[in-house]
Subunit: 356 residues, 2 copies
């Protein structure tokens, strides 16, 4: 494990006074973590520095060929003042899976975790404490060779930045309306869908804008081959409860393997619910909505943790689920996962990692 | 049309002395063009500045969500000292098609062309003149909002940079060996394949590395749905001559509509050759190679203009085409397109645009 140099800021920023106005992803803390890569030294020079702009050649490969990887996770402050990360090993493992697909050199897991902890420790006073708030953590890698040929870059920057984030739901869980997209495609098997990389997100924007215009908050993607099987939501995985069973799309190579998804599956099984990871066609959904066997639907992701889905729209049919309200499994998952994350519930599964 | 401010460099760089050592995309000229976008002013403040690094927040959206568009074209100096662009209107139109797909605001065509011409004029002494050399032009847009939510950025930078480029073929046309990929997928209909954007290129790296390791210079992609139909090469479109007819994959939404492709089709038709834009299955190719009706194969793209393909490999079968040499149509296309580009042949089709 490499030693991290720490340079503290001389000009600390004003911390946001009102935690109800934090929003998401727009305020950044006083410091950031950086590590560099080149073929001679590998990943080297890990350091915590005052948060600052980065300077890159206009020819830097990241601007042209999309060689970029990111992760998303959160830190929470418990009522008794501990700082907890939620399953960071899962994010680090996924980051390196993404890196491999994108021809980015893998990051030693211990340096990654160590950097994460050090940065959060340095900026711990930025962690908000109101219910539902957290410190959002954004690790990312960008390709920096000043070169326009198409090939993997030789040099990279790995950075971590932190953003205090407001409660996703202002007043408790709130069901969302979701648009099932049958025109645009986000990702396809054999492509980069299971990697967390910019190309998948830019591909999603156009449909997202369309869905918003129609009054839907997110897009649910169908597979790119048959345009028939449910994949995932813009920034969440998706679950259904059909006829008493929990069902979620199987990881097929074009879906992001969510950390929250894995945790939902574990918890549901732990509670004795039957969980199926399998293909789910949109026709099956429409039929289940019609005959009443579609009991619940929710999204799972770091941002909202659990997002109950009240309405699904596919082409001209609008499906109301569970009367448009919050189902019992969604609520229990939300309470349990956030309970563990914030230290309110005992972490019997060993999912949290303490900073310091 | 907006007026362009010009600030000339006080520290001109040393120009490369040996034009045979230019390579591709690694040397940049003294100046660059920049224009900014925000919702209030639209695209504004176009300027030519000394080439310099750009400074961005680590949270700039381009690093996270891949909202980036680029183009590629070339300027040539004729023997009598004129400077020519090749069909820049086509690149500008394609740039704005890409922009629409990527939710990037369109760039006024006249400001784009004007910026292009002004920059090339300012750096005209950088245009190499040896046979096969050119000034490569890279226009690109990046999303700059310092924000981690997934949505189209509000602010952007549009830049153009220039790179003197060496001859693609050191000593005349040289056939390449191409690997038909049946495992990884580059793009899929409904996705971003027909946009010129980073996500498509990062998706291609892994197969490209594999093909190189096997001794093949580029990858030929199959469609992402049936994994059966020929799409395009890493940075070229592909043409076949089968039984006397020129055949190229039809633009289906996942293929980049190449400017060189369009020019090849026009020229071939002009010469009285029959040209079909249609689906071509890899099985058809293998069969045509076996029975001798596959007479020629070439790639078309700005970098190499025309790349004769001597060998195609699909799974375990290696197809040698035209004895592995250069076919007559490939040679004639190469001579004609480069002849028009460099002003050696009369531009009867009105394809070139003079700078100044
Ligand atoms: C496309 C996509 N799917 C699913 C998820 C959920 O993953 P996780 O639970 O790890 O946050 C995310 C994001 O966070 C995502 O961006
Ligand atoms: C994926 C891809 N296909 C085709 C082409 C050929 O297009 P053009 O002839 O406009 O250069 C390019 C690039 O230049 C490309 O990147």
């Amino acid at each position: 494990m490499q030693e991290i140099k720490v340079e503290l800021t001389q000009n600390p920023k004003q911390k946001p006074a009102d935690e109800s106005k934090l929003g998401f992803g727009k305020i950044f803390t006083d410091h950031m973590y950086i590590m560099e890569y080149n073929p001679e030294k590998g990943w080297h020079n890990p350091r915590v520095e005052p948060y600052h702009a980065i300077s890159l050649e206009p020819s830097a490969m990241v601007f042209h060929y999309g060689q970029e990887m990111f992760e998303g996770m959160k830190a929470y402050k418990t009522e008794d003042g501990r700082i907890l990360l939620f399953r960071p090993d899962k994010n680090i493992e996924r980051a390196n899976n993404s890196n491999r697909r994108l021809c980015i050199p893998e990051i030693p897991a211990e340096d990654f975790l160590n950097g994460l902890k050090k940065l959060v420790e340095v900026d711990q006073d930025w962690i908000p404490t109101q219910p539902g708030t957290s410190l959002y953590i954004r690790p990312f890698v960008i390709a920096t060779d000043p070169f326009l040929g198409v090939r993997p870059s030789d040099t990279y920057l790995f950075m971590i930045i932190l953003s205090p984030s407001g409660a996703y739901y202002e007043s408790g869980l709130d069901p969302v309306k979701i648009w099932i997209e049958d025109d645009y495609v986000r990702a396809v098997r054999g492509g980069i869908g299971e990697a967390k990389t910019g190309g998948n997100y830019v591909a999603s924007l156009k449909a997202q804008v369309k869905a918003h215009d129609e009054g839907y908050s997110q897009v649910l993607w169908l597979d790119g081959v048959e345009r028939k099987y449910i994949e995932e939501v813009g920034a969440m995985n998706i679950f259904f409860k059909i006829n008493g069973k929990v069902v979620t799309p199987v990881l097929n190579g074009s879906i992001l393997p969510g950390v929250t998804r894995a945790s939902c599956i574990d918890l549901c099984r732990h509670w004795g619910l039957e969980v199926e990871e399998r293909r789910i066609s949109v026709d099956e959904l429409v039929a289940a909505a019609k005959d009443g066997s579609l009991e619940e639907c929710w999204g799972s992701g770091t941002a909202a943790v659990i997002s109950p889905v009240g309405h699904l729209r596919f082409e001209d049919s609008v499906m109301q689920i569970g009367g448009g309200g919050i189902g019992p499994v969604s609520q229990k998952l939300y309470d349990t996962v956030t309970g563990i994350q914030t230290g309110k519930l005992e972490d019997t599964l060993g999912w949290t990692v303490r900073v310091k």
